[in-house]
Amino acid sequence: MEIKTENYNVIYDETSQNIIFDGSLRLNGTAEYASISELLNNVAQQEPEKIVLDLKELSFLNSSGISILSKFVINVRKRKNIQMVVIGAKKNPWQGKSLKNLQRLMPSLKLELE
């Protein structure tokens, strides 16, 4: 599964169970995020043992995007048996500020900032 555009890419690699985001994501509201939500929901539905959200190359995300990632984390949390890892990078300062909230939603979530 993958979504590729001029400004951002979202790719799910089934073998590594990594969902990789890159570029800059500042779409207009839930409607424009629908295809990304669908990809994320599909991954959650497959109930893999582990899901890695790799955001290292995601330079910007607006608040609508933060809402979409939070929804996904809550969806994964409901399934109980999935181990969730979020990887960010210190070179994207927004991640140090905003990603910790995902951990508040799901305390077992592992957050790594490289």
């Binding site: 500042r26 509201g29 607006n62 608040s63 933060i66 994207n92 300062p93 905003s98 909230n101």
Partner: protein, 200 residues
């Protein structure tokens, strides 16, 4: 519409009325009437990135000669996020095709960046917006933020995330304030200025 019957609170939150002059500032202004606002969405990113990139230049290291690259990256990221969220809000809530311009100003002070976004909203939306502001100002931002995320997750069809201003408060520790002003030439609209103060 007779606006005199409805009390409009002028100032809410942390709003500096007479902003001291600063050496470095930028203003972008555009008319919502020239093209439909929703078609301007991509300009939010361009404007926010430009403002952020421009201002980050002024952050030099202790010797005032070389750029402090870590600080610059932090300022750039924060300015870009906040400016983009403010512009997105203006696109969503400003009166479409209004003659009243949307403007964003950013003032740079040694340890404080001040954002001011002005747009007009429909007069009828004032009370609803002010009630929302009171909730923002009178709640614990962290609790409200988490509650909003949980609420969004339950609502399949919610169009607005309601997170823009909350992330500024909770993630960026910014101070927020608002000024409401009636427009003498048009009682159906009211001008709203949102001020964001970001410590750096």
């Amino acid at each position: 519409m007779n606006s005199s019957n409805i009390a409009i609170k002028q100032i809410l939150g942390d709003f500096i009325q007479n902003l001291p002059p600063s050496q470095e500032y930028l203003i972008l202004s555009f008319s919502p009437g020239s093209i439909p606002l929703r078609q301007r969405w991509r300009n939010n990113c361009l404007s926010a990135d430009f403002l952020a990139d421009y201002l980050s230049t002024f952050f030099l290291g202790n010797d005032n000669q070389q750029p402090d690259s870590e600080k610059q990256a932090e300022v750039k990221s924060a300015v870009s996020y906040i400016a983009n969220e403010l512009l997105e809000n203006a696109m969503k809530y400003a009166v479409e095709m209004s003659p009243f311009p949307i403007s964003i100003q950013i003032h740079l002070n040694p340890d404080l960046i001040i954002f001011q976004l002005t747009n007009s909203i429909h007069f009828q939306r004032t009370q609803e917006f002010q009630a929302h502001i009171e909730t923002l100002l009178n709640s614990d931002p962290e609790e409200l933020y988490i509650a909003q995320l949980e609420k969004n997750a339950l609502e399949e069809e919610c169009e607005e995330s309601g997170l823009g201003l909350l992330t500024m408060l909770n993630d960026y520790g910014a101070k927020l304030g608002w000024k409401f002003e009636s427009l003498p030439q048009d009682f159906s609209e009211i001008a709203v200025t949102t001020m964001v103060q970001l410590k750096i």
